[in-house]
Amino acid sequence: MYNVIQFEDVSLQLKNKQILKNISLSLETNKIYGLLGRNGAGKTSLLSLLASFAQATSGRVAIDGVSVFENENLMENIIFIRDIKLDESEKVWKYIKQTAAFRPNFDEDYAKALMQRFRLPEDVAVSSLSRGMMSAMHVVIGLASRCAITIFDEAYLGMDAPARVKFYEEVLNDYMEHPRTIILSTHLISEMESMFEGVIIIDQGEIVINEDLDTFTSRGVSVTGPIEEVDAFTIGKTVLKEQVLGNTKQAMVYGQLSEEEKQRANGLQLAQITLQELFIHLTKEES
């Protein structure tokens, strides 16, 4: 439906605090993205701008060149699912049906099937749902709405592991059958990593990484071996972390290694670093 989502030099300021700083981000549609960032890095603010919850202080968020803020057609195709506690006295199915009235692509049959899968009861008040069931309801709405841009902001927080697995399965299956842009903002990096095609890392209001997942993780290498040899190998390279155990050193290197360099690493053990490790070492604590 759409081709590209663009954050054009976007800044967001709230009460004298600079939340987002000159963000320029270009996202191809119809991909599953993982949005990673420490607490307070600006993940939710970034997503709020995309969902038109707020307007950028400067710059704009556009889809195919059209600004999203207050655009009726774009807004109805963007859904922002957060794990919030709802105080509605309505019954679950009635509440979900009301949501459907606002979403042109809502699939009621799919919603019912999802409710069965997550064991979400139809006939109880929304306000009386347990934490896990509340998350399930948000997920049902998020998936069944079939919005061209679907955002899940830690929507699984209340779910236990089995429920989360169901969630991942449903996201992948429905994504295959109805391709759309899905942005998963999460802290559960290792668990969800395999679902991402693109990864976006935001740190202290700035975009650090916006890239294909494999391309990004291929730049992380751990080098293990005798201390002197590791030191010799890592000269001039970006070292994220070093650990020493006896005579052995393990260094985490960030940067593409050429074939020649890989050959030179005789006697040293080279291994891939996980996305989570890369993330931890490329981002800073909340100041």
Partner: protein, 121 residues
């Protein structure tokens, strides 16, 4: 088929290697259909794009080909191709480390030969 993927190398590569293993082991024969994207997504919970990357790697090396509207199939001669590739890698992957380790331990050629002889073909 593997139980799950690890973090030693990119997942798309592990998928490609897993299919190649199945071909070499005779689980998948020339002309057989390989598991579909849907099946692999359901089984491993990974992004379909990742699987496609793995498939493309296999297509590029001639191991597998795509039949439009049907699926991906093992190419004729894939087994031979892989077998030859593995044989040429055999020396570097297995023999060299073996020699290096034996040297480390100070073993003689005769000791190694004895070990080989104790195995029936």
């Amino acid at each position: 088929m593997r139980l799950t993927f690890d973090d030693t190398k990119p997942i798309f590569q592990q998928i490609a290697e897993m299919i190649e293993d199945d071909i070499v082991n005779g689980v998948l024969k020339d002309g057989d259909q390989i598991p579909s994207t849907n099946q692999l997504v359901a089984h491993y919970k990974i992004n379909p794009a990742t699987i496609l990357k793995g498939f493309n790697q296999l297509v590029d090396s001639g191991i597998v080909y795509k039949k439009r509207g049907v699926g991906m199939f093992v190419a004729d001669g894939a087994f031979e191709m892989l077998r030859n590739r593995r044989i040429s890698q055999f020396q570097q992957q297995y023999i060299e480390p073996l020699i290096a380790e034996a040297k480390k331990l100070g073993m003689t050629k005769e000791e190694i030969q004895k070990m080989f002889d104790s195995y029936e073909r």
